[in-house]
Structures are given as C-alpha cells and as structure tokens.
Chain length 336, copies 2
Amino acid sequence: MNIKTIAKMAGVSVATVSKIINNYADIGEETKQRVLKIMNDVGYMPSSSAKTLATKKSNLIGVVFAGQLNSDLSHPYFVSVLDAFKRQIGLLGYDLLFFSNEKFFREKEDYLARCRHFQVEGCIIIAGDQVEPSVNLLDSSDIPCIGIDIKLTGNNSAYLTSDNAKISSCAVEHFYMSGYRDIGFLGINRVTEVTTTREVAFKEAMNMFGLNINSDWFTYSEDFEGESGYQAMKKLIARGSLPRAIFAVTDLLAFGALRAMKEHQIRVPDDVAIIGCDDLLACQYSDPALTTIKQDKEKIGKLAALMLYDMINQQMDPKVIIVEPELVVRQSCGGA
Amino acid sequence: MNIKTIAKMAGVSVATVSKIINNYADIGEETKQRVLKIMNDVGYMPSSSAKTLATKKSNLIGVVFAGQLNSDLSHPYFVSVLDAFKRQIGLLGYDLLFFSNEKFFREKEDYLARCRHFQVEGCIIIAGDQVEPSVNLLDSSDIPCIGIDIKLTGNNSAYLTSDNAKISSCAVEHFYMSGYRDIGFLGINRVTEVTTTREVAFKEAMNMFGLNINSDWFTYSEDFEGESGYQAMKKLIARGSLPRAIFAVTDLLAFGALRAMKEHQIRVPDDVAIIGCDDLLACQYSDPALTTIKQDKEKIGKLAALMLYDMINQQMDPKVIIVEPELVVRQSCGGA
DNA sequence: CTGAAAGCGCTTACAG
DNA sequence: CTGAAAGCGCTTACAG
C-alpha cells in the first residue's frame, strides 16, 4: 500500500495525496475529505524511509550510552532520567532510537556515522566512563546533542547535570550539623566528570568546615554496581579504623556499603552514619532507609527533551543547565 | 556524501560500490580495496533510509509497551529484561526503536501501522494492562513478535513468561514448610495475564496444602507502584485481622507493604512474614531483606532476542517458552 | 568482474 | 486548487 495506490483510488495525483498527508492548506476541502477517508479505510500509513529519504527528517532521536563501561539500561538513575525524557520527547512527536553498542557497520564504533546513517535529528548522550573519541566527534558535529552528566562542548550541544559540587557540600554540611566530624568517602575508581567533581567538592567542603581529611577513610569501588560498593566498604573495614560517617557518591554504592556493615555488625547510623546520592526508589526500603542527596531525575529528563527540541527546531543557543540537588533525610544518618 | 560521490572518486559505478558495501563476492580484490580505502578516508556511511527503501529491511526492532497503563521504563523488572534483550539483539546486529506512546500520525495508536511506517523487522511487546486492540492487530500480522509476559497468539508470534503458576505454588510451599498456615495475598486490581495467573495458582496451591482461604486477608493495590502496595497493605491492616504471612505478587508491592507494616510497628517476619516476586535489586537491601521468587530476567531477555532473531531469519516456528522461577530465601520469611 | 538503468515511496518546486 | 516530473540514495536483476 503506497501513496500511488491511494492517489489512483481517489482519482487524484500523488502530489495531492502528499499535500493532504502533510496538511498543506491549498487543497480543496472536498478532495481532502475524500482522500482522508480512503486512507483511513484502507489503513494507509506513509513509509518512513521514503519520507526520510525525501526530506532528510527522520523524527528520530538517537540515544547513546557513552563510554567503554556504559551504564546502558542497568543503572536505575539513568533509566529514570530516560523514562522522563522519553515521555516528554514523545509528546513532541519523536521516537527513540537506541543504538546498540555491540556491533556496527564494519565494526566501527562511530556514533556520528551511525547518526547520519539513520538521519536522527538529535541525540541524547548518557554519561559513562572512558568516553570514546567518537562521542567527541558527535558532540562537535552539526547534530544537536544533549548530554546527561557529560560535559558537551560542541556548537550544537548542551548538557544537563545536577550541581555535583553542591551535592557533596550538602552531604558534608548535613553531617556537620548532625554532629559528625570524622567523615570518610566512598568513591569510584573511574574517571568520570561526575564522580571527580563530587570528590573534589567533598574535600573542599571538608576544608570549609575545618574538618580533617583522613585518607584512611577514603575507599573506592571498581564500578557503579552495588556489589563493588560492598567490596570497597569491606576494604575500608579491613583497615581497622572507621570514620563516624561516610559519604557515598552513589546510592548503589551506599547500599553495598550497608550490606558490608551489616555483615560486620556495624550499626548504621549508630556506629557509622552514611549518606548516598541519587534518591533511588530503594532508598525508602533499605535498612536503614537511606539519607541521600536527591537528583531530580524527572526534571532533568523533561528539561533535556525540551532543550533538545528547541535546539532542533529553533536553533536555540545551547546552554548548560545545572539542576539543584536536594537533601532527603531518612534514617541512615542520625545525630552523633 | 553519497554512494555516487564515492563511485566517482573511485572511478567505478554506483553498482560496484553498492556490491562492495554489501560484501558481494564477484568484485575484483584490487577494486574492492581501493573503494574501501576511499570510503574509509572520507568517512562515508550509507544512508539507512535509502537502503531500507530499496530493500525493505530496516535492521530495526520495535519495542512497544502495551496497555493503557504500560510500564514503560518505570518498572525495574521489565527494564532488566529489556537490558538483556538489547545486549543480545545488539550482538545480532539490530538497533532498537522505542515507539513513543504519546503521540502519532493522526493521533492513532496503531502499532501495526507504526511498524510498517518504520519497516521494523520484528517487535518485542512488553506486557501492560488493558491491552489495546491495536496490539492484537500487530500480534496477528506478518511481523514477527515476541511477547514478554503477554500471551501472543499470532502465526508469527511467540512469547516468554515465567511459570507464574509455579511462582505462586513456590511461595505457598515455602510458607507451608516454614510453618505458616494463615496466609494472605497482596494482589493488584488490574486484569493482567500474569497477576491473574498468580492469583488463581495461589488459591490452588492453598487448596493443595489444605489451607484455608480467608478473603479478609486478600488485598489489592491499584497499580504496580510501591506506593500502591503501601496503600493496599494499610487497608488490610485497617481491617483488624492479620494473616501470619503474605504473598505479594510483585516485589514493588511487597516493599510498599513493608513500609506500611513498619509504620504500624508490625514486625517482619516475627509478626507477619512476606514473600515477593521478581528479585529486584532492592530485595537485598530492604529491611528486612526480601525473600522472593526470582524471575530470571537475564535469561528471559536473552532468549527473547534469540527467538525473535530466529523468527525473523529462519521462519522458526513460534513457540511459547516458560522460564522456571526460583525461590530466593532472605530474611522476610523466617519460621513460624 | 563491472556498469546502465529501473525501482523503492515519498516531497517539492514549478507550471497551469 | 491540482498535477507532471525530478530527485532523495540506495539495490538488484540483467547485460556484457
């Protein structure tokens, strides 16, 4: 079923049908209704590829999970952001194309090429670590890109991130105000925009409050999984000296730490208090419920869609938007 | 940059370039290498839409979240399945097209039309509730479809689901063997393949063990969110009489129930034991850690990809595959 | 081993 | 208000 058939059935030209599909004004009302009815009756649907080929517009947004060790659909934080993004960009009429990371044309991991290949109109790039050069290529291309937690610098790029410095200072401040002075840090052994910022800011905040930075109380997990947080916490415990409070750069890591402490009969928050970051769903149900710095996933995803849309359509000047984090007090950080 | 330019640069015909791209055998090695080098140098990438238009193959798999109240990217269980699916289907060379549910051509929610529109080669359909007729249309079309937790009956469809009857009997059996006799049920107020099966099987299992089914101990949440499980549990508590154990059809609901009980100083498992279903990550960190019936998300997602691939390529006879669930014992169900 | 040409299903100036 | 025709960038018999 194609446009030609419809034209024939209606006794009009292909051009006329095309104009009706695309809502051109200069079509007789009677003709329009007649053609519309026929299309409806036979369930005609224009071919996307033909349209894309003719117009260079695909109505598709590419989603790329950047980095060697990308989070894909496995990190609850990014999934939530993406969920909000999908909802909003859907309202604006776009569908989403998830590039598989596994395989591609002649084995090359070339995002820009893939975007051209599918003629996507814009991209959302989700942060990962060890970001490949091909992401930079995409970033600096003419394809509008919106980054989540990844600093994009291209002329047609913008990015969103929580205020990561503030996240750390929030945590330290809350510890301080709750009477904690001996504060440790559970970080991650990978070079990421986000985690690096949080660690630097953590130290600055410690300094600001005149608190001692004790490197014995710093421990690092291998990746973003809860299991790795567990391992990292066990390493810290094994060292013998424990801080009274720990800031974990991510809820997932905090959960792992919680499990390690439970195993070692270390009571939270009585022996060691802990604050995470993200406000994953599971924070409400953990033992104890996790005090955390909330990132507004809903807002970030929605804003990303809106900004990308503007960049695609009105050549809006790309910007960076920093979203405010928020302290959510639960049970894992009492008072010292 | 198109095939014509490459042909001109290499001094060969467009047809020859096309054959090289598609790895035809009947091309001179020298020619081939020369053209390949040029494509590489200029970073040429064939246009997907032109290729699709010419071949009717898009290398795209559509993902549809069925149902009025679909789970989209918000239900951790389906996200995990999808994650595994994406990884495997990516290895097989496909990218994923997520249809936005929000809006479409002339406001119609017609999945089949959308699939034709994009010429997707196959679809994965994720269960939701109040499934629209348009999903049935897609199911009974010639497009290969693989369902997750949704019974597909079309000639080119297959589906995967955990053995939901067994899930319930596992739970009841474990309760029974742990000494519990007064068992309640936390279900969901929506007509879904999965939840209906679990409820029916729950009652059958209760009968099998000669246990009393007390309707006072049945309570239903409005949807799949933890918050709704919380509300449902509060309703049950308000009725005054509590069972000694509860089977929640979903971990998310169980988490909500956990919170409600904590608020009412009901100890788990001392006062009321609970078993969930899914084995979400959060089960490990909840208070207490949740005993659950695990669905093998990894396996289901991977199998779905493999089956869909076979259906697309070798016209494999569609099948239904039932995946075995597995009891995971943690702390929420001790001994009575 | 290589190429000319028709065709895939649309859109878009342009002419009337 | 409507239509003829070129063009988008590929693939694929078919001919040589």
